[in-house]
């Protein structure tokens, strides 16, 4: 097999393999599979005046309107009351009291009648300060599943009046 006069060069592969195994061990030990996280993206604008969703829509080209003041948004208000342990208690959409996510979903479907235009421009969620985040997320989940994406938040005060966010 040795046709030429070149010396037979033997490259030691073993040290390289040792190093490669060390690198492999490092990467295996530091590997943490990324959790399957999702997200709800939203634009939270500063507080804007709100009007009830069943109020008459403001005129589109009101000559007296101040351009610096945003027009009032027709808003569907959802109030979330917490139980003492932070779980979700009473849910109120406008004046309708609901219990549980199924009733909330049914009511929202009723409001979002596909044969009519969307009756509101934003959904305002007023939540109890003690409400756990996971309970809020359940409600956002229902909203998102029904394609209600314009959501704003407010804190529910003791007198149920919240400041819109």
């Amino acid at each position: 097999m040795k046709k030429s006069k070149h010396p037979d060069v033997d490259i030691p592969v073993t040290p390289m393999l040792d190093m490669a195994f060390q690198l492999l061990t490092f990467f295996i030990l530091t590997y943490r599979p990324a959790p399957s996280e999702g997200q709800f993206g939203m634009n939270l604008l500063p507080a804007a005046p709100v009007i009830r969703m069943d109020a008459a829509a403001p005129p589109a080209n009101d000559a007296n309107a101040n351009p610096d003041v945003p027009a009032a948004l027709r808003t569907m208000t959802t109030q979330l009351r917490a139980n003492p342990d932070g779980t979700l208690g009473r849910v109120t959409i406008e004046e309708n009291e609901l219990v549980g996510m199924d009733e909330l979903r049914a009511k929202l479907k009723e409001i979002l009648d596909p044969s009519q235009d969307l009756p509101f421009e934003q959904a305002l969620i007023q939540a109890d300060p003690q409400l756990k985040y996971e309970e809020l997320m359940k409600v956002i989940d229902v909203f998102a599943s029904l394609k209600i994406n314009k959501i704003s938040f407010a804190e529910l005060g003791p007198n149920a009046a919240g400041a819109a966010l």
Partner: protein, 159 residues
């Protein structure tokens, strides 16, 4: 190297093994996600099936990750900040993002960005038992500093 005895010298060929090991190393290097360094593992996210999957955005996407633990404290680089420190941190971050946006606009000869409408995406990773009041305070503080885009994180399935 000398053939003193009549034994057959067995030299295993390590090259294919080395190839495989290098391939494995390459795989693990590629799947390591340095972008998740800001994700604090102490935060247990809530579960929401409708949460949209996160699409891998550009690396240079401007974002600010806020990890909020179950006590409502902001977690920055492993440290737990009190609410006052959290407010300072948000203010500092907003100032940094504002300066960056101005510098970028100047460099690209774009119109001066609105200081009260930062393009930064604030990613909120909040623990599932955190009271709403703490989350609300932090979001309000971000808004007051000009942040407008928010993403609330949740797990797609119980993990």
């Amino acid at each position: 190297m000398s053939k003193a005895s009549g034994e057959i010298k067995a030299e295993p060929d390590l090259t294919p093994l080395l190839d495989i090991v290098f391939q494995l190393i390459t795989f693990f290097m590629l799947v390591i996600n340095f972008g998740n360094d800001n994700y604090d593992q102490r935060v247990r996210l809530p579960v929401a099936a409708s949460a949209a999957a996160v699409e891998p955005g550009p690396v240079e996407e401007d974002r600010l990750v806020l990890n909020i633990d179950k006590e409502g404290r902001l977690l920055i680089n492993g440290a737990e900040l009190t609410m006052d420190d959290a407010m300072k941190e948000i203010r500092n971050q907003a100032d940094i993002k504002r300066r960056d946006a101005e510098r970028y606009a100047e460099k690209k000869k774009l119109p001066k960005p609105d200081p009260n409408n930062l393009s930064t995406n604030v990613i909120i990773r909040c623990d599932r038992v955190t009271p709403y009041s703490d989350l609300y305070r932090l979001i309000t503080a971000c808004q007051e500093r000009g942040f407008r885009k928010f993403s609330l994180k949740a797990m797609n399935a119980e993990g």
